[in-house]
Amino acid sequence: MTDSNNPTPQTQGSAAQDAEETQEGPIRATDPLATTASQEQITAEIVEIETEYRNGVAAGKPVEERPRIDYPPYRSSLLRHPTKSLALADPETIELHSPAFGHRDVSWVESDLTIQHNGDPIGERMVVTGRLLDGDGRPVPGQLIEVWQANSAGRYVHKRDQHPAPLDPNFTGTGRTITDENGWYRFQTIKPGPYPWRNHTNAWRPAHIHFSVFGTAITQRIVTQMYFPSDPLFALDPIYQSIVDQDARDRLIATYDHSLTSPEWALGYRWDIVLNGSKRTWTEPEEGDH
């Protein structure tokens, strides 16, 4: 599809073999070393990659709709991304279907992240709502959406998150819902805070909510992150920037929508999720049963 998914084995080689004997600077760095890079260095790499990409598109190369699997500014990806081309496969029957989730799996209270404890969580109460659509713009009903996020101070309820920001006893930060008959989902929550991480010195993630989404075919599965408008950290963040195409990464930013804001209660954001392809693009090899 795009060459983002086809890093050339010749230039990348096997990191397992090369890590010891070649030190080609930060490209070969593993996690612990990577924390020594400065923001300026990371930003310079981000800009260089994007400039090269834009020039390529201007010269007729394809637009990249997905993140680059091989994106060195995101240091922990160095040893964790495949170096060989993805193998093109015609989807088989099982891949044209997806697991069924329904109200047996998820109760309606799970879409409200502010009522999971005895008290109100601290922070800016907000609602995020939108539609799950296929590539033809048709709503996709009955699909599982899961979310997780930091609290308003930027802290996750997770043992590996040790940064010195307070936990909120009234906020866990996980939710689930099933899209309704018109493809709508809706979560009520608290706006998450930005948080530091160890990709490089003084690295901070823009505020985001993690989303996990199913479609009608398992090939439509998405795990992604939703961001908030005008975050000053966008240009500095190698995860957001791993989507090198500006239009593509803009699709991860929710829109503030005052019509979704409720008086004296919560701010409203709108974010639609579009699955790749559509059910119509493939004819079933046999009679499908769901």
Binding site: L79, R80, H81, P82, I94
Partner: protein, 186 residues
């Protein structure tokens, strides 16, 4: 012809552990099921070190090759086969599912588990397939496996001494697992 551009993915990050795994996620059937088999393995990075923060999902047909259509993966009732499993790896990069071997979904097709891998440090999810050990004898007859040459072996599970299925996932290196991109017809 599709008209809307798809929402791009992002890394699952390091903190999915309290959100995505669910009780019973790795048990598609009870281990007392007469056809129960374990599908297990480890996820390795380019240095051959285990990745301790990866998440593996499987989706499969039942033993007769039927595509499950029943709800209830997240709250299993102990009787209904839903075909979906999710397991976070442990500190040694190990995942383990208890399930049944999938049957062929159509005449002549090799059965496989559809697998999705997520990890901190992996900018987008990756698809692969786990074929049953018997597929070794049918590579030449299968258009997809035969297109992979020697690398087809990375998609075929090994059977251990107890009859269970072992499938290691290598993100890089000589044994780099074949990951898939599904062809879209337009």
């Amino acid at each position: 012809m599709t008209t809307l551009a798809a929402t791009p993915g992002q890394t699952v990050g390091p903190f999915y552990g309290y959100a995505l795994p669910f009780e019973g996620g790795e048990s598609l059937v009870d281990r007392s099921h007469p056809a129960a088999v374990r599908l297990y393995g480890r996820v390795f990075d380019g240095n051959g070190a285990p990745i301790p923060d990866a998440l593996v999902e499987i989706w499969q047909a039942d033993e007769q090759g039927r595509v499950p259509a029943a709800e209830g993966s997240l709250r299993r009732d102990g009787y209904t086969f839903t075909g979906f499993g999710r397991a976070a790896v442990d500190d040694n990069g190990m995942f383990s599912f208890t399930t049944v071997e999938p049957g062929s979904t159509r005449e002549g097709a090799l059965p496989f588990f559809s697998v999705i891998v997520f990890a901190r440090g992996l900018p987008d999810r990756l698809y692969t397939r786990v074929y049953l050990p018997e597929a070794v004898d049918s590579i030449a007859d299968d258009a997809f496996l035969s297109s992979l040459g020697e690398r087809a072996a990375t998609l075929i599970a090994r059977r251990d001494a107890r009859g269970d299925l072992v499938f290691d996932i290598h993100m890089q290196g000589d044994d780099e697992t074949v990951f898939l991109e599904h062809r879209q017809k337009d």
